[in-house]
């Protein structure tokens, strides 16, 4: 397969090795570098399953026989963060687990994406109490949120397909898109503390219920 490398520019004199013109008997294709790279990335995402609770069982179901996530280029489960592209955070994340999740995210090499699977990972869900992080987007940047408690395997697969679309639309020219986010050194937070408090305000009647009906 030949490749049109016009966009790169700056190659030296035309030798046998870096000649531009394909021979007539060689098949070749011309494309945008962005498209080629994104196509490769989107269709061979290596997931890092960070399964904690109920959602992890539905995640296992999507890897198993009936749903078979391998059809989407995810044949290889990377249980090591250093060899993976996509973090699937499935299940609730208590505060005790927060530094672990942060560390795993930092261990993953760029390019990397994160899927927050289920209501608890996305917002804290039904656990609006002292122990549970109210949405993992306060710890790591999240690309796709999959709602549900737990989401069905179809839901997870749809979320992954949305992520593939997002990967396909990435532009390498966009500055900083693949830069590592650095947390504030003193507080270790990515986003301002006031914003976290505002985001995780109690809603509905989740905590305004008294212990005992009057």
């Amino acid at each position: 397969m030949g490749l049109n490398l016009d966009t790169l520019g700056g190659h030296g004199p035309a030798t046998e090795l870096n000649r531009m013109e394909p021979r007539p008997d060689e098949p070749w294709v011309t494309t945008k570098l962005d498209f080629l790279v994104n196509w490769g990335r989107a269709n061979s995402l290596w997931p890092m399953p960070f399964g904690t609770a109920c959602c992890a069982i539905e995640m296992m179901a999507s890897f198993a026989s009936k749903f078979d996530l391998a059809r989407f280029g995810m044949e290889r489960m990377a249980f090591s963060p250093r060899q993976s592209d996509m973090l699937i955070c499935a299940g609730r994340v208590p505060f005790k687990l927060a530094p672990v999740l942060r560390r795993i995210w930092q261990q993953m090499p760029q390019p990397k994406w994160a899927i927050s699977m289920g209501a608890c990972a996305s917002t804290g869900g039904m656990f609006d109490n002292y122990a549970v992080v109210q949405g993992i987007d306060t710890i790591i940047p999240v690309d796709v949120y999959v709602p549900g408690c737990p989401p069905r395997p179809e839901g997870l697969i749809y979320g992954i397909m949305m992520l593939q679309k997002k990967v396909m639309n990435e532009r390498r020219a966009t500055r900083g898109i693949r830069d590592e986010m650095t947390p504030d050194p003193s507080s270790k937070l990515y986003i301002p503390a006031s914003r976290i408090d505002a985001l995780s305000e109690p809603f509905g009647n989740s905590v305004h219920q008294t212990r005992s009906a009057p």
Binding site: A53, A64, P94, I104, V132, P150, Q209, R211
Partner: protein
């Protein structure tokens, strides 16, 4: 450490004793030196100069079945000591229970041992009914037995699949998850959810089974034993499987009782204690089923016990389907059961009951009760204390896998590092239940 007492520790560094286990030597705690000391140094002397190594497994590790963390001290490849760290999934269930009405707690019971959702719903409903003093209907009892046994099979199938992956066999994982999908389809047709069912209510069920549902269940009862037989053929006499499981993590009957193990862990150690038979509920004493018991207390026996339990569950399901009576599912008590929506919008009295039930919630009399059921992991208990208001003043979960896991330091010491994975898998832990 204030008082002085004598312990026994196993010194794996001194080699194996005559019984094939690491040698045991007495230790004095809190003696003159204030710390710990060997009561009498072994004659040949342990090799104290050897380099010990600490390694850390988890909290994110595919073989820990969740977010368990084990710190292991190794001598070569032999585990000298194992220190489990739990709590990475502590979500404050019991605290939340104090802020919710009894029927509102049921969705939380789904998510605590999430492999056995219906079983937990049933256990909680039984506890609440005992607290309220309600007797449920006959049809409801049989439906609950069907739900409990289906979820027992589903839970054991996850155990089978994940344990096989841990030990190196991939195929049974695919087979067991295929069967789980069949169970999920049944549950979905019944209560509308695959995993988090919230199937029960205080005094009855959320829904009766739909038409033709029983036919689906009968089909499952007919086909499921074939899958079990197939797994049986692949594993039970497989040399690699036996080699990786036999003789590991032995607990004697006395030890198992003293460590408060329950469920298949206890029965594999030769104690025939099954809550369904010894402290029955839901009329389990009228069903004909066997309680499988192991005689070696190792990982292989736990495997055999769980495989047989799935077959016995099929037997119970078969009997339950045959005796399923007609009649109402919910008790006829407007204090706890919501009236049908059509009545609530058309009749004054029903509307009042509906309003009172939703806004205030049913109120049990003052008192407390502890109701235990046999979950796939063991004795699952709910302890509820009522102060006469619509919310429990204490809701306590007795988690079987918490107590089963507490014995892991005892079970893995003296074994190889790779056997830790097999022993840990054999406990069948669910971190959601352990950490709550």
């Amino acid at each position: 450490m204030s008082q002085k007492r004598t312990l026994e520790v196993e010194l794996s560094t001194t080699g194996l004793g005559p019984d094939g286990r690491p040698r045991r030597v007495p230790l004095v705690v809190g003696g003159d030196a204030g710390g710990l000391a060997l009561a009498s140094p072994p004659a040949d002397g342990p090799d104290l100069e050897g380099e010990h190594m600490l390694i850390n497994i988890g909290p994110q590790h595919p073989a820990t079945h969740g977010v368990l963390r084990l710190v292991l001290e190794l001598d070569g490849e032999t585990v000298v000591r194992c220190i489990p760290h739990i709590g990475y999934l502590h979500c404050g269930f019991e605290k939340i229970g104090e802020y919710r009405q009894y029927n509102q707690i049921i969705p939380w019971t789904d998510r605590e041992d999430y492999l056995n959702s219906i079983g937990n719903n049933i256990a909680f409903a039984l506890g609440a009914e005992r607290l309220f003093g309600i007797e449920i209907t006959e049809r409801c009892k049989v439906l609950r037995v069907i739900g409990a046994e289906l979820s027992r099979i589903a839970s054991h199938l996850v155990w089978l699949g994940t344990t096989c992956i841990d030990i190196g066999a991939f195929t049974p994982f695919l087979w067991s998850f295929q069967e789980r999908e069949n169970i999920y389809n049944l549950l979905e047709a019944w209560v509308g959810a695959r995993m988090t069912t919230s199937a029960t209510r205080v005094g009855g069920m959320a829904a009766d089974i739909p038409d033709k549902w029983v036919e689906g269940l009968v089909g499952f009862i007919r086909t499921f034993p074939k899958t079990i037989d197939e797994c049986d053929r692949v594993l039970t006499k497989n040399g690699i499987w036996v080699g990786r499981t036999a003789g590991l993590g032995v607990m004697t009957p006395d030890e198992a009782i003293n460590w408060s193990l329950s469920g298949p862990m206890l029965r594999a150690s030769g104690v025939a204690y099954d809550v369904r038979r010894d402290f029955p509920y839901l009329d389990y004493e009228t069903y004909d089923f066997d309680v499988p018991v192991g005689t070696a207390g190792d990982v292989y026996d736990r495997y055999l016990v769980r495989m047989e339990e799935m077959r016995q569950s099929v037997r119970i399901l078969d009997q339950a389907v045959k005796r399923l009576p007609d009649g109402p599912v919910n008790v006829d008590d407007p204090r706890v059961i919501l009236p049908p929506k059509s009545k609530a919008t058309s009749e004054m009295e029903s509307m009042i009951h509906h309003f009172k039930n939703v806004m205030e919630g049913p109120r049990p009399p003052v008192g407390e009760c502890y109701v235990a059921v046999e979950s796939p992991k063991g004795e699952k208990g709910y302890y509820m204390v009522s102060d006469g208001t619509s919310k429990p003043s204490r809701w306590r979960i007795r988690p079987p896998s918490f107590l089963n896991l507490a014995a892991i330091p005892r079970m893995v010491e003296g074994h190889l590092l790779s056997d830790v994975i097999a022993i840990n898998a054999s406990i069948d832990i669910v971190m959601g239940e352990i950490d709550r």
